[in-house]
Subunit: 430 residues, 2 copies
């Protein structure tokens, strides 16, 4: 039986999880695959801090070059862009395959990495880059490979989903829920990557690229995070039978695609709306498969290591069978006409306008919407609370073009009765 040597670069949380899985499950993996997959070395700048894992002697090293030379498969878990990219290119140029969980790097520098991989006939596997332990990359490009993909919608960021769940369940405002997430280690010291939607956009870019055969750049994605979601909107959504989730949305309409990330109201009764806390979920709609949904832990040491190890096994089988590039990291083959700009998408909308109580306000608002050809699906005005200076008017629209909505929004914002910035949340009926 062939022995395949695995070198891990980066001994952080995920690195520790991968090492632990390779050691603990080695015999199961060998039984399942017929290949002996051996943890050979782990490199890091810091190899003295305890990671609470018992490693065989001689595994830890600071010599990354030597690790690369000695390993059959290299796992990049350094994170960030510059150093990680340099490591990956070095490995690929030696004709060796790489496993990575680095979504930011792939979304931003994927083109160069995939080209170098092709040139040197090596593989780049990246299951762990999207949706943690859920085998969504494999499902999309192998399990559903016979489908025309019509839609992908995902809850892809555990931190945001935790915050939104907390806000709804415990009536906390955004700041409180973010604090709680930080205390539990779910949010970074600088939480912007998560809460401003960039992490979700990285993952959405990767899924869209795979689904439609062209690398989707971050610049092509509309990105809006959850920082401005108010508890009041979450409560109104709840009353109206919806939940607010940060979603990555990819759709094909008349052979054009749209790729966007924003807070989204989805019906409470759907499975997607019931994916709570730090969990992730991805819905894929394809022809002929119909609607499928994949659910699991989207982050964390253990779940992420499951995905990294699945990739290691794929590379090991490729080495064993001499079948590398059987499924290339990325195959460029555009399957759509153009990428729609945000103003051309169609959606239903939730808007909340804080107004001073005067006769004729609703007439003014309705007229503006009517002038832009936007029809109202429901409207809700509650009595003014004693504690509040203004009255919220909540409107749910039927489908309309984003550009019409933005025009109406602008006009409504300029009404003398309108106080504060109008809140807008897009609705998907799944």
């Amino acid at each position: 039986m062939k022995e395949v040597k695995v070198g891990i670069i980066g001994f952080g949380t995920v690195g520790t999880g991968v090492a632990s899985c390779l050691l603990e499950n080695q015999s199961v993996m060998e039984k399942r695959t017929g290949v002996k997959i051996k943890l050979h070395k782990i490199s890091d700048i810091d190899i003295t801090t305890s990671r609470d894992i018992a490693l065989p002697d001689g595994i830890l090293t600071t010599d990354t070059d030597k690790l690369i030379d000695e390993s059959d498969i290299v796992v990049e878990l350094v994170g960030g862009i510059e150093v990680a990219k340099k490591i990956i290119l070095t490995v690929l140029e030696k004709g060796k395959s790489v496993v990575t969980a680095n979504k930011a790097l792939l979304a931003e520098e994927g083109k160069e990495i995939f080209e170098v991989a092709e040139k040197y006939k090596a593989d780049v596997y990246y299951e762990a880059s999207v949706a943690g332990g859920i085998p969504i990359i494999k499902s999309l490009r192998e399990g559903l490979a016979g489908n025309r993909i019509e839609k992908i919608m995902g809850i892809l960021n555990g931190t945001c989903n935790y915050i939104l769940t907390k806000m709804e369940n415990d009536s906390q405002d955004f700041g409180e829920a973010l604090n709680k997430a930080s205390k539990l280690g779910y949010a970074e010291a600088d939480p912007s990557l998560d809460i401003d939607g960039f992490d979700t956009a990285h993952k959405t870019a990767i899924l869209a690229s795979l689904a439609y055969g062209e690398l989707i750049s971050m610049d092509d994605i509309y990105i809006e995070g959850i920082r401005n979601i108010a508890l009041m909107d979450i409560n109104f959504a709840k009353d109206l039978g919806y939940r607010v989730k940060l979603m990555g949305i990819i759709k094909k309409e008349h052979n054009n695609i749209e790729v966007r990330v924003h807070p989204t109201m989805i019906p409470s009764a759907t499975i997607m709306a019931n994916i709570s806390d730090v969990n992730n979920g991805v819905l894929i709609e394809g022809d002929p498969v119909g609607t499928t949904l994949f659910y699991g832990q989207g982050a964390g040491m253990k779940a992420t290591s499951s995905a990294v190890v699945a990739d290691i096994i794929d590379v090991a089988l490729n080495i064993e069978k001499n079948s590398n590039r059987r499924i290339p990291a990325f195959r460029s083959a555009k399957q759509f006409n153009s990428l729609m700009s945000m103003k051309n998408i169609e959606s239903r909308y939730y808007i909340r306008i804080q107004v001073s109580e005067k006769p004729g306000v609703i007439a003014n608002i309705s007229k503006i919407l009517g002038d832009e050809n936007i029809s109202i699906s429901s409207i809700l005005q509650r009595e003014k609370e004693a504690s509040s200076e203004f009255v919220p008017i909540v409107i749910i629209t039927h489908h309309t073009h984003e550009i019409n909505m933005l025009k109406a929004l602008d006009k409504m914002q300029n009404l003398t009765e309108t106080k504060e910035k109008i809140k807008l949340i897009r609705i998907e009926d799944i």
Copy 2:
């Protein structure tokens, strides 16, 4: 670019769906895989009845032998055991790979088929045999290949799930709901394979075999269908916060495994409980991945064809890369100690006892349960309805061994106050 010829044997519903997908999505598949996958021939005894699909000339044939000789991949969609087995063995003996959706055949004759495939270095792919369009076989043995599997629970039969959903939502009894399912084409003329749990057991056997590296025989599985589920029990379950689902359950406990199929009460708030109508769902719990769940259409022409075509693509890539048996149909490598007999499993239980109203009934029942060391979690006795002769007493127990429960059940059944057969439904808290 290599052209791979696909021959389909069996021009029924699924055969039509696969042909349609191969024709309509050929260009997408080619872009995604770099392989030209061509529908070469379809054979059937009946090639005159219209199937509502436009086929190129010369595709249809009654000459199955010639189809096998001319095709690179053969898709067996004949169904049943004898004829299908003969076809598959013929193909494998020629060193060609087979794609099949035939769960009954694999569950009952898998051993011989897998041995012949190994002998002739050919592949058998069978994604469509379990959970329709959901790529669950690929997820289990590739996407989660690094995991020790701790639990698999699945809603695997669309017909039963439809019937149970109807019973709960529309307050229909079992017979009414079954009639409705038949009218909609969800149930066969002889519905026994579905409603008596055999179809679920076939699929559960396949999942258990893959998860634990030993072929699990139908004789090793406890099988109980939904024929005896009363509307009253579904309503009691609902009041208690549960739903009744027919589930395939595979668990590992202290290195022993249990494999069973029976109606199961699961908490209404879980995602699994919200998988309704003809949809399927499979939960896999593994270490390190944690809990994952896969959802989609479990049957039907389109969803099933998605899975068959994914397998065709896998075989085509193996042909292109000369990597057949990269992931063998089945790798024997036992990963457990023994298969537990049903009497040794542990569960929580729902029991409903119809009694004549006499003082001391509950005392008698409680004493019997206490004598068998079974503790009661909750008990419910409603007032006798005017229309009814007897009073239902509903008891939910804490965890106990099945053998104790059966002993208690026997004693309770023999109480003079007990009328009708006591109903028992196992509870899983997921």
